[in-house]
C-alpha cells in the first residue's frame, strides 16, 4: 500500500476551499484531495472527500456501512480519528451514500457498501487504521515543509502538529488554513500504526455522535423525506405472492379528496395522493380482483412445519453437507445413538419504521434521485439502475438513517424502491411510498422455519463420539439472491452458518442441510443461522449432559477443551452468574454460542409466575476481540438478548393459503419493557482483532432460557417460540 500525494503545482484548491480534504483511494491509501476545480464532482454535485479539516479545526469523517442503530456512525470514525491523532471533540461523521470510485466498501463484503452480519467494524478495522495513519503522515509532511524541518521530527497530539526542537505548534485547522502549503511529493512507505497502549479514542466510551439528535426527534428517516411536488403512495398489494390485479373500479378511489392517480402494477394497485391519509382512503375504496391462481394459495405454515419434520427424519432425503470432520459415518448406525429434534417457527423483523422509499425519476426516465434506508447502498443503486434500464451513474442516492433493519433492509427490501421508481416514472412526479404496518407484517420476508435433528453416538461416559446436526429448512439464499445462488453446491450460509460447531470436539461431526421448497418469502433475521442452529445444539448439549449425569458446565468444558477462548467465556459466565445457585423457586440455564469469530456464553435465571415464564436475570461473558466502543457494543448485546428473548416468548408468523395471518403489533407483538430481565454483560479480552456485536446477543439467549426451564420444570422446551411461553 502506497501513499499517493499530489505534486505541489496542483495545490490550488486549498486556497479556494479553505479546507484540507483527504480522499480514500481504491488501493486503500489516503491522499490529499485534488483541487475542487480539477476533481470530478459526483452526480450529486459533491466531491468525494473522506476526511475534511476546516480552519476552525473541526473534522468531518465520512463512513461506509450504514447506521441502523448499531453505532457505526461513531465506531468507524473512531478508528480513523485514533490513527489521525484527532481531538475527538472536534469530530463529526457522515454516512456515504454512493461509492462510484469503490473506496468505501466493506472489505469483508466484497468491497461493496453493505451493513449486515455484524461485519462493519470487523471488516473496516485494518483498512481504516492504515488510511487514517497515512492521512496523519500527510499532515506531518505539510507541517514539516512549512516549518522547514524534517518530518521525522514532527509529531502529533490531539489534532495538533508539533515540532519539539523549535517549539513550533499548529492545530490541524491551522494546517488546513495554510495559504500556500507545500504538499509532500513522492511516495511514502506504509504508515506505522499506533500501539494499543497509546490509544486514546478506541476502546473508550466517547458519546455516540448520533444520540443527541435522537433525543429531539431530529433524525430524518426516509419516511420523513419531503420533496417538492411529491405525491404520497399507498399500495393495495397482492394478498398472495405472484398474483396480478384486475381493476374492477377505481371510481370511488378517485373520488376521494386528494387522490391524484390510481396506477395498476403487476403485483399491486397504487393510489397516489396529495397526502398519505388520502392515499389510504383511496386504497380502501378500490375494487380489485386478483388472479387467484398462485401456487402459494396452497401454502400453509402448519403444513410446512410438518414437511420439515418429515424431511429431518427421512434419512434418504437429499442432504447438502455443510461441514464434515472425522469420517466415521457408520457411528450413526450403532445402537447407542441419542436423538433430539428442535423446531423454530417463522418470525418477522418488526423494525419500528415500516418499509418505505422516496423516488424522483428524471424526465427522460433514465435517471433518478432516491432516498432509502438500506443496509446496502451499492446493491440498492444497482437494483435501481436495473429497474430503469439505466447505468448506476444516473442514480443519485441518499442513504438514510434506518428505523431498525435486523436483516430486512439488505437486498430483502428491494420491492419498495422498485415500486417507488415505477410510480414516480408513471406519475412524472416524486413519490413517497409507505407501507402501513399491516403491509409490513403481511408482506414480511420471514426467517424460515427449521426443524433440526441432532443424533449423537455416545461413549460409555456419555460424551459424543460422533454428532450429526441435520437442518431441514427452505433456502433463504436461493430465494433472496437467485443470481448468486449456486445450484451445484447449494450452500446456504444464511441458513447453515452456526451449525459448524467449530469450537466443539465431537469426534466425527457432520452438519447438513435438507432443502425443502419454500412456502413464503424469506430473509435473514438478526442472529441469522446462528440463532436457530445454536438453539438446537445447545439444548441438545444440556440434554446429553443430563443423560450422562454430568453438570452442563463440566460437560461442555470437556467438549470445548480445544478452544481456550470458548473456555474463557464459559468460565467467566459461570463465575459472574454464580451458576447453579439460583434463589429459591428459580433455575439457571447456560448456553455457549458464537457468532462468527465472536464467542459468548449466556446464563438465564427463570421462574414461572403461574403460567407466565419470567426471565429475571441474564448474564453474558463475551469475547469480541478488541472493542472499539464498549458502550455501543453493550447496547448491541442487550438488544440482541432481548431479540432472542422475544423469539422465546411469543414471536411467530403463521400463514394460511399463502396469506400471513398476523396484521399488526396486536397479533405480532415483540416483547415489551415489562418482559425484560436484568442484563449483565462482561467482556473477556483475548486481544483478537474486532469481531461483530450486532448478532451475538441472539444465539445464546433462547437455549440458555430453554435449559433453565428444563431444570425448573423437568420438561424440555424444544420449540421457538416456547409452547407455554407467555
Amino acid at each position: 500500500m502506497k501513499v499517493h500525494t499530489r505534486h505541489p503545482t496542483r495545490r490550488g484548491f486549498l486556497k479556494g476551499s479553505g479546507a484540507l480534504s483527504f480522499a480514500l483511494l481504491a488501493t486503500g491509501s489516503a491522499a490529499v484531495l485534488p483541487s475542487a476545480t480539477e476533481a470530478q464532482p459526483l452526480p450529486d454535485g459533491r466531491v468525494t472527500a473522506w476526511v475534511t479539516i476546516t480552519p476552525d479545526n473541526r473534522m468531518t469523517i465520512m463512513f461506509g456501512s450504514a447506521e441502523m442503530g448499531q453505532g457505526v456512525s461513531t465506531s468507524l470514525p473512531m478508528i480513523v480519528a485514533e490513527e489521525l491523532d484527532a481531538d475527538w471533540s472536534t469530530v463529526a461523521s457522515e454516512q456515504v451514500s454512493t461509492d462510484p470510485e469503490g473506496v468505501y466498501g466493506n472489505p469483508m463484503a466484497g468491497g461493496i457498501l453493505f451493513a449486515a452480519g455484524s461485519s462493519s467494524v470487523e471488516g473496516y478495522f485494518t483498512y481504516l487504521r492504515q488510511a487514517g495513519a497515512q492521512a496523519r503522515q500527510i499532515l506531518i509532511r505539510i507541517a514539516g515543509a512549512h516549518w522547514g524541518v524534517p518530518p521525522e521530527e514532527v509529531t502529533t497530539r490531539q489534532s495538533t502538529v508539533l515540532h519539539e526542537p523549535t517549539g513550533a505548534v499548529m492545530t490541524y485547522g491551522e494546517v488546513a488554513a495554510l495559504p500556500d502549503p507545500v504538499w509532500p511529493s513522492g511516495e511514502m512507505p506504509q504508515a506505522e500504526l499506533k500501539l494499543r497502549a497509546d490509544w486514546s479514542i478506541m476502546g473508550t466510551d466517547v458519546e455516540r455522535l448520533d444520540i443527541p439528535g435522537k433525543t429531539t426527534g431530529a433524525p430524518v428517516y426516509s419516511i420523513d423525506v419531503e420533496v417538492p411536488d411529491m405525491l404520497h403512495g399507498a399500495l393495495l398489494l397482492s394478498p398472495v405472492e405472484g398474483e396480478t390485479p384486475t381493476l374492477n373500479s377505481d371510481t370511488d378511489a378517485r373520488a376521494v379528496d386528494g387522490v391524484v392517480d390510481v396506477i395498476v402494477m403487476d403485483h399491486a394497485v397504487a393510489v397516489l395522493a396529495r397526502s398519505y391519509t388520502a392515499a389510504l382512503a383511496g386504497r380502501d375504496a378500490l375494487d380489485v380482483r386478483w388472479t387467484e391462481t398462485s401456487p402459494f394459495r396452497k401454502a400453509n405454515s402448519a403444513d410446512e412445519l410438518a414437511a420439515l419434520a418429515a424431511a429431518a427424519d427421512d434419512m434418504s432425503a437429499d442432504a447438502v453437507v455443510w461441514e464434515s470432520r472425522g469420517g466415521d459415518q457408520a457411528a450413526f448406525s450403532s445402537a447407542d445413538v441419542v436423538t433430539g429434534t428442535y423446531t423454530t417457527e417463522h418470525v418477522y423483523h418488526a423494525q419500528m419504521e415500516p418499509l418505505n422509499a422516496v423516488a424522483s425519476v428524471d424526465a427522460d426516465g433514465m435517471g433518478a434521485e432516491i432516498w432509502l434506508g438500506t443496509q446496502s447502498q451499492t446493491a440498492s443503486i444497482m437494483i435501481a439502475a436495473a429497474v430503469l434500464g439505466t447505468t448506476p451513474d444516473r442514480i443519485r442516492f441518499h442513504a438514510m438513517q434506518m428505523g431498525g433493519a435486523f436483516g430486512r433492509r439488505t437486498v430483502f427490501a428491494r420491492e419498495q424502491m422498485r415500486d417507488a421508481l415505477l410510480l414516480s416514472k408513471a406519475a412524472g412526479r416524486p413519490v413517497k411510498l409507505v407501507w402501513t404496518r399491516e403491509d409490513d407484517v403481511k408482506n414480511g420476508w420471514l426467517r424460515p422455519a427449521t426443524v433440526q435433528r441432532l443424533d449423537a453416538a455416545l461413549d460409555a461416559e456419555g460424551y459424543p463420539t460422533a454428532l450429526r446436526h441435520r437442518i431441514a429448512s427452505p433456502s433463504i439464499f436461493q430465494f433472496a439472491m437467485p443470481d448468486r445462488w449456486n445450484p451445484e453446491t447449494r450452500r446456504d450460509l444464511l441458513v447453515m452458518e452456526g451449525a459448524e460447531s467449530s469450537d466443539y470436539d465431537f469426534g466425527t461431526f457432520q452438519a447438513e442441510h435438507v432443502l425443502v421448497p419454500r412456502r413464503s418469502r424469506l430473509s435473514a433475521w438478526r442472529g441469522i443461522g446462528w440463532a436457530p442452529n445454536c438453539f438446537a445444539r445447545e439444548c441438545f448439549m444440556d440434554e446429553l449432559a443430563e443423560r450422562a449425569g454430568i453438570d452442563p458446565v463440566s460437560y461442555r468444558r470437556r467438549l470445548l477443551a480445544g478452544s481456550p477462548r470458548a473456555l474463557a467465556v464459559l468460565d467467566a459466565a459461570v463465575a459472574m452468574s454464580d451458576f447453579g445457585n439460583p434463589p429459591e423457586g428459580r433455575a439457571h440455564g447456560i448456553a455457549f454460542a458464537g457468532y462468527k469469530k465472536t464467542l459468548a456464553t449466556g446464563v438465564a435465571e427463570v421462574s414461572y409466575e403461574g403460567e407466565r415464564l419470567r426471565v429475571h436475570r441474564f448474564w453474558t461473558a463475551i469475547d469480541p476481540g478488541i472493542v472499539i466502543h464498549p458502550q455501543a457494543y453493550r447496547a448491541q448485546v442487550e438488544g440482541g438478548i432481548l431479540f432472542g428473548l422475544s423469539s422465546v416468548l411469543r414471536e411467530r408468523s403463521t400463514f394460511t393459503k399463502g396469506q400471513i395471518d398476523q396484521s399488526n403489533f396486536y397479533d405480532y407483538e415483540p416483547i415489551r419493557i415489562s418482559d425484560i430481565p436484568e442484563i449483565e454483560v462482561r467482556f473477556v479480552e483475548s486481544g483478537e482483532a474486532p469481531s461483530g456485536g450486532g448478532e451475538i446477543g441472539v444465539p445464546m439467549t433462547a437455549p440458555a432460557i430453554s435449559n433453565a426451564v428444563r431444570r425448573l420444570t423437568g420438561e424440555s422446551q424444544r420449540r421457538l417460540p416456547f409452547v407455554t411461553g407467555s
Partner: protein, 150 residues
C-alpha cells in the same frame, strides 16, 4: 380546516376533522419527530402530550384534539435539554432512534405526573411503547436518573 394549539402556537390545519393527529402533525405541520409505527395504538412511536397526558396521536383525530394543548417532541424543550432528554444522553439510550421521541414523551409525562416513580410504575407506564432495538434497560435507568436529578 381545524385550528390546533401545538407547542404553544395556534395553527390552522387544512385537513378534515377526522384526520388522525399523527398525520396532521407529520404531513401538514411538518413536525416529523412524531413517528408512525403501527397506527393502531400498539407501539407508542406517535406519543405526544395532550394537556400534559401521554397520548397516541395515531388514535386521536384533529377534530378531537382541537382546543387541547398539544406538545410534540419538538416542543418538549427549546434546546433539547429537558431533564429526560439529558438523562437519555447520559444513559446513551437510543439505538436506531425511531421509537425514542415517543419514549421520551411518555417518560416526560410520567415524571410530570409522578416525580418519583417506583421501578414498577416505570415499567407499567412504559409498557405502552415498543422498542424493537431493545433499549428498554437503558430507558428504565434514564427515567430513574431523571427522577433523581429532577
Amino acid at each position: 380546516m381545524v385550528t390546533l394549539n401545538v407547542n404553544g402556537r395556534t395553527v390552522d390545519v387544512n385537513a378534515a376533522p377526522d384526520t388522525p393527529l399523527l398525520w396532521a402533525l407529520r404531513d401538514e405541520l411538518k413536525l416529523k419527530g412524531t413517528r408512525y409505527g403501527c397506527g393502531a395504538g400498539m407501539c407508542g412511536a406517535c406519543t405526544v402530550h395532550i394537556d400534559g397526558q401521554a397520548t397516541f396521536s395515531c388514535q386521536m383525530t384533529i377534530g378531537d384534539a382541537a382546543g387541547a394543548e398539544i406538545t410534540t417532541i419538538e416542543g418538549l424543550s427549546e434546546t433539547g435539554d429537558h431533564r429526560v432528554q439529558q438523562a437519555w444522553i447520559a444513559e446513551q439510550v437510543p439505538q436506531c432512534g425511531y421509537c425514542q421521541s415517543g419514549q421520551i414523551m411518555r417518560a416526560a409525562a410520567l415524571l410530570a405526573n409522578n416525580p418519583r416513580p417506583s421501578r414498577q410504575e416505570i415499567v407499567d407506564e412504559m409498557s405502552a411503547n415498543l422498542c424493537r432495538c431493545g433499549t428498554y434497560p437503558r430507558i428504565i435507568r434514564a427515567i430513574e436518573r431523571a427522577a433523581q436529578e429532577g
